[in-house]
Amino acid sequence: MTPLTRRQLLKFGLGAAGAAALAGCGTPGLTSVNAAATIPPASPSSPVTLTYWAWLKDLQKVADIWNAKNPHIQVRTVWIPAGAQGGYPKMYSALAAGGGPDLAQIELRTIPEFLLVNGLVDLSRYGAAEHAATFDPTLWKQVSFTGGVYGIPQDSGPMATFYQTEIFERVGASPPTTWSAWAEVAAELRKQKIYIDVFPFSDASVFTAYATQAGATWLTPTEDGWVINMRDDATMSTARFFDAALDKDLVSTAFEAYSPAWFAAAGNGTIASLTDASWADALIEGISGGKGKWRVAPMPRWEHGGFGSSVRGGSTTAVLANCRHPKEALEFAAWLNGSQEGINGLIEHCGIGWSANPKFIGTSRMEPSPFFSGQNYNQEVFVPASTEQNPDWSWWPVTQQSLNILADQFRRKPGGQSLVDGVVKAEEQIMSVFQNKGLSIRKEEA
């Protein structure tokens, strides 16, 4: 090989200058695209191509439906690893590099995190308001911050209880309607060496969903900064309830839902039920020999109030900051997630969660399911569940880190620290995370 050419050397020299500049002011994401002028739509004669990063499989098939009808806006999808498992780091680094896709799948809970790095286009400047009526108002609230709209809701995960009818019958139980009834059934099942469900220490989003159902709102955006309250009655009683359940060994902590060990246990009947989001149906259908054994019931309620259901998961289609055609991107995102065609396509090819359009849950979901004992569970259970949600919940700019902090505290439960203490400690840590990012936060006065 010949030594470097002069031009390459020049490039290195430029690189050196660049790095020196970076050393001084290298932190990316400090400027906002939403302060700049809006980008006018491209003329119909010059077709645009939009790149869309998502971890939905076969998304291109849905995009192709759109592409066939909209020759001037072509969408090309790229599969990326799911969210925190690699997708977000990829997006963050692409944004930091001044690039990235036009559209991306971003979970509802992650939208504020992208706002923190100025990663999203404010769609209200491109006419998002006209689509607001199409989507579930609870979800729309979760993409709306400081007067802007930062993503089009794609799906959500209203929760219910999936249970094995035969195992419940064995102990003479019907699906519990309250959490205390749930604990009683769990105790009966334990006599048969069966666990009613699992409780994951490492994924705090499950606990978060239970607390949300009880009526908690941990963080609230206000005029003068964030207000935190994780010691409210709803959260504390939820923590106490699961402290007791864990102390009495009512739930398994040996493995998490959807792990191979869980599939084995659900298959051989040592796990009787699962309280989780609507999208769990597709996963439960993967349990070997499970056909006809499972049904779905509304999730148990908290006695002291709260809501009929909760939510876990849920994504949006967001327009990333370096998108050069936000208007066209918005048009596509609204079609994909709001139109019957788009929703049916997403369900059929990608297996998305609960439709974000309350007027259309998807054609296939209006049918009874042979796997779930012929039950028409979507209409019967999830449609009501999707309306019985905590409307005040809001995600915050350090959600992932907060959930990790919470999980780190929960991991100490086997060592003797209660969930209650864990939540209280986590609140302090989350506050300091806010402060270290230079955001103002205060505790809610009791």
Partner: protein, 307 residues
Amino acid sequence: MTAPASDQTRTRGRRTGEQRAPWILLAPFLLVFLFTFILPILAAVGSSFMQVTRSGLFGEQGVTQEFAWFHNYALALGDGSFITSIGRMFLFGIVQVPIMIIAATILAFLLESASARWPGLFRAAFFLPYGVPGVIATILWTFLYVPGLSPIIDVASWMGIDIDFLGPSTVLWSIANIVTWSYTGYNMLIIIAQLKSIPGELYEAAHVDGASPFRIARSIQVPLIAPALMLTTVFSIIGTLQLFAEPQVLQSVSPAIDSQYTPNLSAYTTAFAYNDYNVAAAQAVLIALVAFILSFAFLRLTNRKDQ
């Protein structure tokens, strides 16, 4: 080839040639080194001293960056999880590195002893894992760790033993096993190379003196392979502090591995998942410092013993 010249000019030309030559030869390496090591390190050190302050809920009312002195270092050192991860790596290193080096030494001795049959075959078998990338090695072992998939767990449960390779107290040693599996053969080969370089006369002299094989190993072989042992130990220490791929891959099956399980994982999470580039830079600088101090201390210690 060169045109004949007077002796004097030739010498002068040669001198300047000799002065310039090393720099010309070094230039390509140094350029890439500067570009891919020095500048990024300077940039990391620089950004580890900066801090971002935001106003409003997301910084929408303005973001400022300022010099923060050692604020980020204080945050990194005040972060219990980060300190725990360094402590975890110490524990890991103190147990895993000696086990691996001792195992590699014993295997090298056994293979080099006349007692071994098919040494070539065994050497190849032991060395094979070195060629398997850490990620793929971890995927391989993941299958043997996961309940429901792992035949090892099945076999153990027939015998009435419950093993959990992925639990909070065991997963560190499951990682240690992967690292040991990957690098023992490699370290063994380095030691074998050194053993082979011991002059035959030394052995003959020892035999004439009637030394036992054990005695030969202790008095001749171990001292002479000491440099190789030292080198492999230093690299293992550095490798331990940089552990990343194994825990990152195992994360998907072991809930016990949190996002800050190792120092490197911690820095990666802080930078790419929490978007806190400044604190991440401080963490990376701290990792480098610890690696440097450890290697330095180890070399000092062993050198003193030698003298």
